[in-house]
């Protein structure tokens, strides 16, 4: 964009603004009119005193800035000129004689004239070259001149400065520049006082004047070179003192818009001011302006309508409008309009999505009481809930609904007649399982049925809830009969869910990581504490009080830690050795605790399977036995973190690190416990010792025993599903139970006896333990991933759990709990939690992938039993079998994907890509360091220069006096 164009646009805008101010009807005058209009003859004479009053009112609160930098003015001569000028201005003719000077003066307030200049190319650049002075620093951002911009929002960051004053300096009230230039120096107080009494010349004018001083007199005034000393300095330089004194002299109330003087500041400062955010009002005016200057082009239909209204239509007219429309269209397309359309689409998308926003009220409530950190926990639950809804929908649509909707209704009839002989084993096992199961359920009492509900056994076992029931289905369309390959559907649904989860996690994690990555090492702890200390969401007095207290303790603790760190550096060798010994011992202890916990889990699980085979247990005892391992897991998960918390205090870490360490230990336990359970089940059920493959185990199951007693494991996948079902159920019961049976009474006691009983007061109400809660919910989700395959019901259960947790926790947080004394930071923990979620996801995916790829499925149940005639059948066979039926090319491609020839190059490529990004990251780091260094250097330069300036100024002052 050319300079002239920019300027033209700019002045046009300003003109319109001014007009609006004056009540002029802008909309009637077109651009060309504006340009051609003689300002003198049309602008009515303005009442100066009235204007002044208005201005005074408007800018009363703005302090006088940088007055002293204006060069000296001879007061008397100035006034004389002023009066003559004023009298002269009444006649338009005499006015034209000395246009040149005035143009220079008024170029801010009289854009018309400037446009004339532009048009006639008589613009005098003399005063503006040599310094990068854009007219009034309000150059519109690029792309604004002849196209509707993509988005007004960027005006938050770009565009002219705030508070573009609408002062309307009437011309002729400023002294002649040339005369002014020749004036000798005199007291600056005088000039200032004069300005106060009369009209203030715009700073640009003063600045230009000063520039001319430089050129014409060859005498450099330092205030011209570094006019913004006061702005950037901050220490008591001489200029600062002078300003203060002049303020004391009664200039404090002189109104002067700070934006006016940006011609007086350093270029960098000017740039900052130019980029300053504008208030909404200004942005609105600009939008209107833009709309007016770039009205929406009429559509073809509208144009045609106009034409018809006019009367006759000729072919030529039609051709013209078609051509015009096409040109406009092309024009808009080639411009920035596309991004605008995109932007509009974004807004619409957001508005659409807003309709589905739920629980916003709760989030706000929590936020108001606990701050943002607690809110993120609830948002996380909400996010998980949606994830589970997606998983649930996929599972239901691909597996459950087809299973229920399609024939046939028994497994045996689902087999195609041609190769029944091949499925003999599967049929036998299935029949035996079915007979066993129907015998079992027929004799059950109501009590047993209720207990079954808790265990997922009995009547529940052979429902759509578990893996075991599924088999291939067929559907007919016309004469053709197709097979609905349930095994494949299972695999696809499962793969789809995992892929979806993975993508969503990565998306969410990357959002968080973007915020916190890179800042982890270089985080500005103290600035973070102060500048982002207050949570602006807080809206309750009590919460605000708590927050204040939190900030206070946080600051104190952090400072205390720092002092401790200083002491630590001075610590003697013996103390160090002692500390490291303690840490080592505690780590050993933690490992021992973890090992013990895992052993306990495996032991109880083994007992559970063994006791299951005993026939003489009563139902209640059986239920207890069934639940022993899960109760163990839950209790360990509740107790051990507390022990870890106590232990870490002896290790003498920094608070933040100690906290994270404790959390990591707790998470380790959480993730390890279900894995231990699965490992022991695997060992008991599937793993066949090499030496005796025939002694025990049939139908793909080690525990298969051919008798009809209760509690036999006929289908190990379903059994897995049952275990995980129990785990989910117990987790749900315990979590809600803790709140209702421990926290509620505790809260009640505190409320009632908190003031009287010392013991109750000591215990206090339950604190809201955010990290522990997050770990709980992550654990829930990882169980869901683990159990999904064995029980398509589990995603649904997890969804219900999420909803329930949300409400129960909301109740707890808002009514029962109190905020923590020293809560942890939001930022670091967020990405940590996502990392843990990702980790648990990977573990679940890895375990299940291993199972699908290597473990032979049961022959008595599930969609994969049809492959049991193949030796070494695994679940993945369903995929390979399908691929066999593909056309050769597709098959070749698929097979190639599995070969080493494909795999190794891909790995190498990925490694190279990682390396590339790592290098780039390093590069950015280096750049950051360099830039930082540069910033420092510039700061030092500035300081040095300021010192020099002060020195020279002092000398000057000495010389003058």
């Amino acid at each position: 964009m050319s300079y002239g164009k920019l300027f033209e646009e700019n002045s046009r805008r300003k003109l319109a603004k001014k007009r609006r101010e004056l009540g002029d009807d802008v909309s009637t005058s077109s651009d060309s009119e504006l340009v051609n209009r003689r300002p003198k003859s049309e602008t009515p004479p303005v009442d100066v005193s009235k204007l002044r009053k208005e201005r005074d009112k408007k800018y009363q609160s703005q302090p006088l800035e940088l007055l002293e930098t204006s060069s000296s003015v001879d007061f008397d001569r100035w006034r004389k000129d002023h009066t003559t000028e004023q009298s002269a201005s009444s006649s338009p003719d005499s006015d034209r004689n000395n246009t040149r000077e005035r143009r220079q003066l008024k170029f801010k307030s009289q854009p018309e004239e400037i446009e004339e200049f532009e048009l006639s190319h008589s613009w005098d650049h003399r005063m503006y070259d040599g310094r990068e002075h854009r007219p009034r620093a309000s150059a519109p951002p690029l792309g604004f001149d002849d196209q509707p911009g993509p988005s007004r929002r960027r005006d938050y960051q770009s565009g002219p400065p705030v508070g573009e004053p609408l002062m309307d300096y009437d011309e002729g009230r400023y002294p002649d520049v040339d005369r002014q230039r020749q004036m000798p120096s005199s007291s600056r107080d005088d000039s200032a006082r004069y300005y106060r009494g009369s009209q203030m010349p715009p700073s640009d004018y003063r600045n230009d004047m000063e520039n001319n001083n430089i050129r014409d007199n060859g005498e450099i005034q330092l205030s011209d070179v570094f006019p913004s000393i006061n702005k950037s300095d901050g220490k008591g330089t001489l200029i600062r003192h002078r300003r203060k004194s002049s303020r004391k002299g009664g200039f404090g109330e002189v109104d002067y818009d700070s934006e006016e003087d940006d011609g007086n500041t350093l270029p960098s400062q000017r740039a900052i001011q130019r980029n300053r955010t504008k208030s909404i009002k200004e942005r609105k005016l600009e939008l209107e302006e833009e709309k007016r200057t770039h009205p929406r082009p009429k559509t073809l239909a509208e144009k045609y309508h106009d034409l018809r209204n006019k009367g006759t239509i000729t072919a030529g007219d039609v051709a013209t409008i078609v051509r015009e429309s096409t040109l406009t269209r092309m024009h808009t397309l080639s411009g920035t309009t596309e991004s605008k359309a995109w932007h509009k689409f974004q807004i619409r998308k957001k508005a659409f999505l807003d309709r589905f926003t739920i629980w916003a009220g709760t989030l706000k409530e929590v936020e108001g009481q606990y701050g943002t950190a607690a809110m993120t926990y609830f948002r996380f639950i909400k996010w998980l809930m949606f994830l589970n809804i997606y998983i649930m929908i996929i599972m239901f649509c691909v597996i459950t609904v087809p299973y229920l909707a399609l024939a046939p209704y028994t497994f045996n009839s689902s087999l195609t007649d041609a190769n029944v002989s091949g499925y003999r084993e599967a049929i036998e096992c299935t029949t035996e399982y079915e007979i066993y199961h129907s015998n079992l359920t027929e004799t059950e009492s109501i009590g047993q049925q209720v207990l079954d509900l808790l265990q997922g056994t009995g009547w529940m076992e052979r429902r759509i809830l578990f893996y075991g029931v599924y088999y291939n289905k067929t559907y007919t369309s016309g004469d053709e009969t197709y097979t609905y390959n349930m095994g494949l559907a299972y695999m696809l649904a499962f793969g789809g869910c995992f892929l979806l989860s993975f993508l969503l996690i990565v998306k969410n994690a990357s959002k968080n990581v973007k915020v916190s990555l890179g800042s982890a090492e270089t985080m500005a702890v103290y600035s973070n504490m102060i500048f982002s200390g207050w949570d602006f969401c807080i809206n309750q007095r009590k919460a605000a009080k708590v927050k204040r207290k939190n900030i206070f303790t946080d600051i104190q603790a952090e400072l205390h830690d720092q002092r401790k760190e200083w002491r630590r550096q001075k610590r003697s060798g013996v103390e160090n050795v002692k500390l490291y010994a303690i840490r080592f011992l505690i780590n050993l202890l933690v490992l021992a605790l973890l090992g013990g916990a895992l052993y306990l889990i495996t032991f109880t699980a083994e007992q559970m399977i063994e006791l299951q085979n005993q026939k003489n247990l009563s139902e209640i005892v059986e239920l207890l036995v069934q639940y022993i391992p899960f109760v163990t897991i839950t209790v360990l998960n509740a107790v051990l973190p507390i022990i870890f918390q106590k232990l870490v205090q002896f290790e003498d870490y920094r608070y933040e690190f100690g906290f994270k360490l404790t959390l990591a230990r707790a998470i380790l336990l959480r993730l390890a416990s279900p894995i231990a359970l699965i490992a022991i089940l695997y060992k008991e059920l599937i793993e066949r010792p090499d030496d005796d493959s025939s002694s025990s185990g049939q139908c793909g199951n080690k525990q298969w025993i051919s008798d009809s007693s209760r509690g036999r494991i006929m289908c190990w996948e379903t059994y897995f599903g049952q275990q995980l079902y129990k785990l989910v159920l117990l987790d749900l019961i315990v979590e809600t139970g803790i709140i209702f049976f421990m926290q509620v009474p505790r809260w009640y006691l505190n409320k009632k006896y908190g003031k009287t009983s010392k013991l109750v007061k000591l215990v206090g109400p339950q604190e809201f333990d955010l990290p522990q809660s997050v770990v709980d919910i992550i654990y829930t989700q990882s169980i869901c991933w683990l159990g999904m395959f064995f029980s398509p019901l589990i995603p649904f259960m997890t969804f219900v759990k999420c909803v329930l947790f949300f409400w129960v926790k909301k109740l707890a947080v808002l009514k029962i709990n109190v905020p923590q004394e020293r809560p942890i930071k939001t930022s670091g923990s967020n990405s940590l939690f996502m990392l843990v979620l990702l980790l648990s996801f990977i573990i679940a995916a890895g375990l299940l992938g291993y199972m699908i790829g290597t473990i032979p499925p049961s022959q008595s149940c599930g969609p994969y039993r049809v492959y049991s005639n193949q030796t070494g059948a695994v679940m993945f066979n369903v995929v390979t079998n399908t691929v066999q039926n593909w056309p050769t090319e597709a098959r070749d491609v698929f097979e190639f994907l599995g070969t080493v020839g494909f795999f190794i190059p891909v790995v190498i490529l990925l490694v190279l890509l990682m390396y590339y990004y790592w290098l780039r990251g390093q590069g950015y780091k280096k750049t950051e360091e360099l830039l930082q260094e540069q910033l420092k250097m510039e700061g030092r330069d500035k300081k040095y220069l300021l010192d020099r300036v002060n020195e020279v100024l002092t000398q000057n002052a000495d010389l003058l006096s």
Partner: protein
């Protein structure tokens, strides 16, 4: 919603939508919140100028230690009074969708108590005092804290933070974007 729908024309709404980070629905919601501050005068004139005391009735601002600065910064007249547009502007800046650099700029102006375009030690002291409220840090702690902050943020050793320095240090303060926020 029907009541407030008629307050603004479709054109006004889409203009506001262009100018802020809000959707139309959210703008109407903001207006509702504005209206609850002083139903009578807003009923009479939707562009009514509410004085600082009325604006501070907004719960978030009521308890905010920097509430007087916020109203001053966002008031277009600079005196703490706010029209609906100022209010909308404020809520827009505090909304989730406002980019970080916009927030940083306003934060800088809020923390710059004496409006000299730098956050000096004095400003820092004021910020800290307002944050901690009744419990004040003792002098030694305060000195240590301010020194720590300046060490982190003040690159040119002039004992005050310019906007560039502030922006830089905020990029290392990951909690900022989460805390400088008011939910609608």
């Amino acid at each position: 919603m029907g009541g407030s729908q008629s307050v603004f024309s479709e054109q006004e709404l889409s203009d506001y939508q262009e100018l802020t980070y809000f959707t139309k629905k959210e703008i109407l919601h903001v207006f509702k919140r504005f209206q609850t501050l002083d139903p009578d005068s807003v009923e009479r004139d939707k562009n009514a100028k509410l004085n600082r005391e009325t604006i501070l009735k907004l719960p978030e601002l009521q308890v905010n230690p920097f509430n007087d600065r916020i109203t001053t910064v966002f008031s277009s007249a600079g005196d703490g009074c706010m029209t609906f547009e100022d209010f909308l502007d404020m809520m827009s800046v505090f909304s989730d969708n406002a980019p970080k650099n916009v927030k940083v700029e306003y934060a800088f102006r809020i923390y710059d108590f004496d409006e000299d375009d730098v956050i000096s030690g004095k400003d820092l002291r004021e910020v800290i005092n307002r944050l901690t409220g009744e419990q004040a840090l003792n002098d030694e702690e305060m000195e240590q804290l301010i020194q720590n902050i300046l060490e982190e943020a003040d690159l040119d050793d002039d004992d005050s933070l310019s906007f560039a320095e502030f922006e830089h240090v905020i990029s290392k303060a990951p909690d900022f974007i989460n805390s400088f926020r008011i939910r609608l």
